[in-house]
């Protein structure tokens, strides 16, 4: 399987032969930033298109089909439309916090995005506490949403922000516990290490029952964490206009929109990373020919393929379940998911200690 670190090392050596060490390092950092920015923007645009198409097909509509072939350029057009919209200044807002909130939301999703391993040797930040770091930075996003709602000085945004805050911090627990379950199994928190540990089989197969329970809990909690699907109370259009970003206009709103879709990608990416083997190909023990064919498919395609499957399931949730009430939402988390995840964690520890896994 192709190792992307060959390309990065080649670029590194090329730059070092041309210029002094510090300059080469600087150019590399700029390259990393630009590549990350481009993938971030392209993935967000692609996701908005996919979401609209999937949503349309679920409702027996055609979806966007006028701009470009099959409406492929629709989200690019939307981005330009957002850029040329006026940024309305609202009276009585807390100007500083109002302008700070988009920065927090975008930076938190960008940091979590940088920790995902997209392919063999294709990862921006590879901390040895990777998965813990992802959990930490993605929970900063809540702060941005709370600030946005509070600083706008509007009743809708306040209610939206409060709902979003209580929802996201509550579901953070189940996410943390299912991360913990998989860290127990993997024995490492480094994202690249977790993927390497799955070379002999994806965790969802090797960890059998506790891993599957953790995966299901993660899927529910991850949907809630991205404020999507049945858990979209913070921005329930029919109740709160647009929730916490009611007062934001133009590209200011665009940032929240962007971060929301990127969070969907990140949640699916982490599900892939922890349970579905990251960029590892699908192998069946004993079938050598089959395994070799699977190895020919590049690792990036494996990663994105799995991410899009998980993403499709999360989109499916949205069009299947009706929106929950806030009390039902919190009851689901605190009375069902938290106790189940605690028991599941102990189950996983027993499985690991007595070597009951495959």
């Amino acid at each position: 399987m192709f190792d992307f670190s060959i390309i990065t090392h080649w670029i590194d050596n090329l730059l070092r032969s041309w210029m002094p060490e510090n300059a080469a390092l600087f150019v590399e950092f700029v390259l990393v930033g630009v590549v990350l920015l481009l993938t971030y923007a392209v993935i967000a645009l692609a996701l908005i298109y996919i979401e609209r198409k999937v949503c349309a097909f679920f409702q027996c509509r055609l979806g966007p089909n006028r701009v470009g072939p099959y409406g492929l350029l629709q989200s690019v057009a939307d981005m330009f439309k957002m850029l040329i919209k006026e940024l309305i200044e609202i009276k009585h807002t807390d100007k500083f916090l109002f302008n700070l909130a988009p920065y927090i939301v975008i930076v938190s999703s960008m940091l979590a995005f940088g920790c995902l391993p997209f392919g063999r040797g294709l990862i921006a930040i590879d901390f040895n506490i990777g998965i813990f770091f992802i959990m930490a930075v993605s929970s900063i996003g809540v702060l941005g949403i709370l600030l946005a709602g509070w600083a706008s000085n509007n009743k809708f945004t306040l209610i939206g922000a409060m709902r979003s805050g209580s929802q996201m911090i509550s579901y953070e627990l189940s996410i943390g516990l299912s991360f913990l379950t998989m860290v127990v199994f993997a024995g490492t928190m480094q994202t690249s290490g977790i993927v390497e540990a799955q070379s002999s089989g994806w965790f969802i197969f090797r960890g059998h029952i506790p891993a599957i329970i953790a995966f299901l809990i993660y899927l529910v909690a991850g949907t809630a964490e991205t404020n999507r699907g049945p858990f979209d109370l913070p921005e329930a259009e029919s109740e709160l206009t647009a929730g916490y970003h009611t007062e934001y206009s133009g590209i200011h709103f665009g940032f929240f929109y962007l971060a929301e879709y990127l969070n969907l990608f990140i949640v699916s990416g982490i599900a892939t990373l922890l349970f579905l083997g990251g960029w590892m190909p699908f192998h069946i023990g004993g079938w050598e020919g089959f395994n070799q064919i699977m190895d020919y498919i590049p690792s990036v395609i494996w990663f994105f393929g799995k991410v899009f499957v998980v993403m499709f399931i999360i989109m499916w949730f949205k069009w299947t379940f009706p929106r929950l009430r806030i009390d039902q939402l919190l009851r689901l988390e605190w009375k069902y998911l938290v106790p189940i995840s605690l028991v599941n964690l102990l189950l996983m520890v027993l499985v690991v200690i007595f070597k009951l896994h495959f």
Binding site: V32, K91, Y103, I106, M110, N154, S170
Partner: protein
């Protein structure tokens, strides 16, 4: 190297927002109108401020979250080496978990998990 990359990604995030805001500031139209700056609520002038006291139920869950989240932080280092610790590691952490579950049970019994 990783810490430097962390700073790079951080700056990339800031740069994305700043650049987009800068471009929008260059090409977006501007018009001034006293009605425009009003809060978007229902058409009639807004009454009072929205920076007010709010339902306490939300804060209660925030406090409960704090307890459990700190627990998760303590459990992460243990989770990495649980394979080497074996049964003794499980027994030691079990006391910690039992105290925590007792806390959840107490909150449940007291009705802190009910939405009133």
């Amino acid at each position: 190297m990783n810490s430097a990359l962390f700073v790079v990604v951080f700056i990339t995030g800031l740069a994305l927002v700043a650049a987009a805001l800068w471009i929008a500031g260059l090409i977006s139209p501007r018009s001034f109108n006293p009605q425009k700056g009003e809060a978007y609520e229902c058409g009639i002038p807004t009454r009072g401020t929205s920076w007010m006291q709010f339902k306490v139920g939300y804060y209660l869950f925030a406090i409960l979250f704090l307890m459990f989240d700190v627990e998760t932080v303590f459990l992460f280092p243990w989770a990495v080496i649980v394979r080497d610790l074996g049964v003794s590691g499980l027994i030691n952490i079990l006391f910690f978990m039992i105290i925590l579950v007792l806390g959840l049970a107490y909150a449940w019994k007291k009705g802190a998990l009910e939405w009133k």
